[in-house]
């Protein structure tokens, strides 16, 4: 069992940044556990979402940002919808994930590799090219066999477009990437 000292290690700058970026007040949480009870992902989380909320109140930046849970939250909005104190918990999870990404603390590499492959495709074509995204993800992750069985199914039925649909304004879309995220950062 993990024992956490809640009366030490409070990172005030971290808590303030989360509050600013999410527009939420984590101290409104009274640990009822409703978020965790409804979260479909608790079975793969290392920290259930109500514990992330508690650690956030305690300002334990390190423990939060190194959790796998941040990268396994699908933003299904169950926690946000069911929070009796109207905390947008999913938005807090998203903001924590932004921070973990910025600090290079990526505990689920394949999830990040998939997201990056997806965004690379949008940046290049203006619309996501699903087939290209998969090829890039496989090249990045080296996971050649995980969905090999789907290949014939998808091909036989023409379920996936073999070519990208480049839009006229693709440079305009690429500019959004550069302008918000800066070059090379994602």
């Amino acid at each position: 069992m993990d024992v956490l000292k809640l009366d030490s290690g409070y990172d005030a700058a971290f808590v303030e940044a989360v509050m600013n970026e999410s527009g939420q007040d984590p101290f409104a949480c009274y640990q009822c556990g409703n978020c965790t009870a409804g979260c479909p992902y608790t079975f793969v989380y290392d920290l259930p979402v109500h514990q992330i909320m508690r650690l956030l109140q305690a300002g334990h930046k390190g423990r939060i940002l190194q959790s796998h849970s941040l990268w396994l939250c699908a933003t299904c909005e169950s926690c946000t919808t069911r929070c009796p104190n109207n905390i947008d918990v999913a938005r807090i999870m998203d903001v924590l994930r932004h921070m973990a990404g910025r600090e290079g603390m990526i505990t689920e590499k394949q999830v990040k590799q998939f997201n990056d492959s997806f965004l690379d495709s949008v940046k290049k074509h203006g619309r996501v090219f699903e087939f290209g995204t998969l090829v890039k993800y496989i090249a990045r992750s080296g996971r050649f066999w995980s969905d090999a069985d789907l290949g014939p199914k998808v091909m036989r039925k023409g379920k996936i477009a073999p070519r990208p649909h480049d839009i006229k304004g693709k440079d305009e879309v690429a500019r959004i990437f550069h302008s918000v995220l800066g070059d090379g950062k994602k």
Binding site: C76, S78, T81, D94, V111, V128, I160, E172, V173
Partner: protein
């Protein structure tokens, strides 16, 4: 008939690829119902989940480019079949409305600023609220009598309620109402809004096996002949990955997973080219044959009653 309904239309990227069946059947059903869809010219990707996991201004800017294009069309409402597109467009519009500084920041990254005057709706919302269930039921030529359907909405069509502002966030009924109007038997399905595993199918397949497996298990144990869905990603996880789920969980599900628009088209008597049922991985044939048998048995019983 009510004045013609006309919308700016945002198909979403998967509609050009893995959910072409959803896209084609959505357009066909709208055509049959006299709803005009004007595709947003040169629309771009909303960024889906990957964008908002990186940065919220970034995600909103990708969406706002499309809202701005819809404004330039002179349209007041944009509709989309895809819940992921819907969420991104709605979250962007909602936050720009709530926080003027956020809107300014988003617009700083756009070629044409977004004034944020366009309302965003799902195709489902337009069908049920603007057109209404009676007009849909009127179009039915071949009722889906005898087909038992588990209605599955997916997690983000209605949540969070403050943003999505449509139907009930825990027990949505819009699709139930449409399907019932088509003559189908709609089962009470308690996991209507439970997440299917979303885009983790590629990177963390194990997660999707468990979550989508649970959805199939419930539908199966309720005696469903099929599942109806409104989301491309849910459909892919439940249908295309059904064999993987069977292998992972040692089960033998054979549940066809339709887009609700395919079922509408089927009941409207539309042709295969408008339905693309052949795109389904788990074939629809057995469920539809069972429905046919039930209809014939009912007709026979009807005839016998008349003779007596």
């Amino acid at each position: 008939m009510s004045p013609e309904l006309s919308y700016a239309y945002y198909p979403g990227c998967s509609g050009l690829s893995t959910s072409k069946d959803y896209e084609i059947s959505t357009r066909a059903v709208c055509r049959a119902l006299g709803i005009k869809l004007q595709e947003i010219p040169d629309w771009s990707c909303c960024g889906s989940t990957p964008a908002h996991t990186v940065d919220h201004v970034f995600s909103a800017a990708l969406s706002a480019r499309n809202l701005s294009l819809a404004e330039q069309m002179g349209s007041d409402t944009v509709i989309t079949p895809c819940p992921s597109c819907l969420t991104n467009l709605k979250v962007a519009a909602h936050r720009m409305e709530q926080e003027p500084a956020f809107q300014q920041e988003v617009n700083r990254h756009l070629q044409e600023p977004c004034v944020n005057t366009v309302q965003v709706k799902s195709v489902l919302q337009a069908l049920i609220q603007d057109l209404g269930p009676e007009a849909i039921a009127k179009q039915v030529e071949k009722p889906l009598s005898g087909l038992k359907i588990a209605p599955y909405y997916g997690c983000i069509m209605n949540r969070p309620p403050e943003v999505m502002d449509f139907d009930d966030p825990e027990n949505p009924v819009a699709m139930d109402e449409i399907l019932r109007g088509l003559g189908a038997e709609v089962l009470p399905y308690p996991l209507k809004v439970e997440c299917c595993g979303a885009s983790y199918g590629v990177a963390r397949k194990d997660v999707v096996m468990q979550l989508s497996g649970k959805l199939l298990d419930l539908a199966d144990s309720l005696g469903a002949d099929a599942i109806a869905t409104a989301c491309p990603l849910c459909q892919m996880n439940l249908d295309l990955r059904q064999d993987q789920i069977n292998a992972a969980l040692k089960r033998s599900f054979r549940l066809p997973v339709f887009y609700y628009t395919q079922l509408m088209g089927l009941a409207f008597g539309l042709e295969e080219k408008d339905l693309l049922l052949n795109k389904l991985n788990v074939p629809a044939g057995p469920a539809l044959a069972k429905m046919q048998q039930a209809a014939e048995a009912a007709a026979e019983q009807d005839a016998q009653t008349k003779e007596q």
